[in-house]
């Protein structure tokens, strides 16, 4: 997993079937990258549902949440609509898992992203990271602690 202090590598992925999101477009905002194994699996559902309810606390710290998995843009669309998510889910679909590999959080055996979190600052530098056991929803407290620490710098 990419270390704290490194520049988060830029990437561009589909955020909807007809829109792409480029990481560097988010400069000036803090970015929370939440890699997760798969849409629709029960634990992920909990994690993304929890983050959806936590968005207003993230935005207080000028942070934008982005979810990333290897699912396709159409799968993300259905998953997002079904759960009324108010943040983008990016499709790390083709070449499969390329962005997860860039960040060192690709699970080769399962062919999925690991459950990993990164907090990037306004310049895109990684300021916090966390690799969670795949079956365990890591919650939002670590992210908020990291954002609070950035506020206090």
């Amino acid at each position: 997993m990419l270390a704290i202090g490194t520049q988060g590598p830029d990437f561009e992925l589909n955020s909807t079937p007809d829109q792409k999101l480029k990481l560097s477009e988010l400069r000036g905002k803090r970015v929370i990258l939440a890699f997760y194994p798969a849409d629709w699996s029960p634990v992920c559902g909990d994690q993304m549902t929890l983050y959806n309810a936590t968005l207003k606390f993230f935005s207080k710290h000028n942070a934008q949440l982005v979810g990333i998995s290897v699912d396709s843009k159409w799968c993300h669309l259905a998953y997002s609509q079904n759960n009324k998510f108010h943040f983008p889910l990016l499709a790390d679909f083709e070449p499969k898992g390329m962005v997860a590999r860039l960040y060192g959080v690709y699970d080769e055996k399962e062919g999925e992203c690991q459950r990993a979190l990164f907090v990037l600052d306004e310049k895109g530098i990684i300021r916090w990271n966390y690799l969670s056991p795949v079956g365990l929803n890591p919650g939002a407290d670590g992210i908020l602690d990291a954002l609070e620490e950035l506020d206090n710098l």
């Binding site: 994690q47 929890l50 009324k84 365990l136 890591p138 919650g139 407290d141």
Partner: protein, 179 residues
Amino acid sequence: MASRLKPAVSSKDHILGNKNAPLELVEYGDYQCPHCGRAYPIIKEVQEAIGDSLKFVFRNFPLSDPHPDAFNAAVAAEAAALQHRFWEMHDIIYENQEQLDWRSLLGYAKKIGLDLAAFKTDIEKDSVIGKVEYDFESGIRSGVNGTPSFFINGEKYEGGWGAYDLTAYLRSLLVSFRV
């Protein structure tokens, strides 16, 4: 992540049982969550088993997207608290989890003997709605990652919460305090 309860239990919380008990069990719950519904009788059983050595605290953690009535139910229980009937409302809501629209909530308020006029005013109050939001934020900060989430003496409890497991764990803690 080793998560701890933030902030600690205080007089702002709803506490059931012996306030000076050596064991403190805090639940972050959602009134519309079926798992919390399953936990409800389990907690009663655990309280029965542990008795005076345990205090139980309930904090609100309504996830509104999957559970559209959860927030209103939490507000209703907080409004009942203003008439010193929090636990009666908490219980009747969990016992009727499938029916949590406003009309039903009003019915429960009536059934437990609340002053309905006051209740209707109280559910609109910023302080009552704010209490639910405050609990939610404290849950987020404490590392709540789903409902129900439990904290035992301030530490997130990741073990099984069936009556047997929970009671056994609490008893083992009690024993360790005596050593």
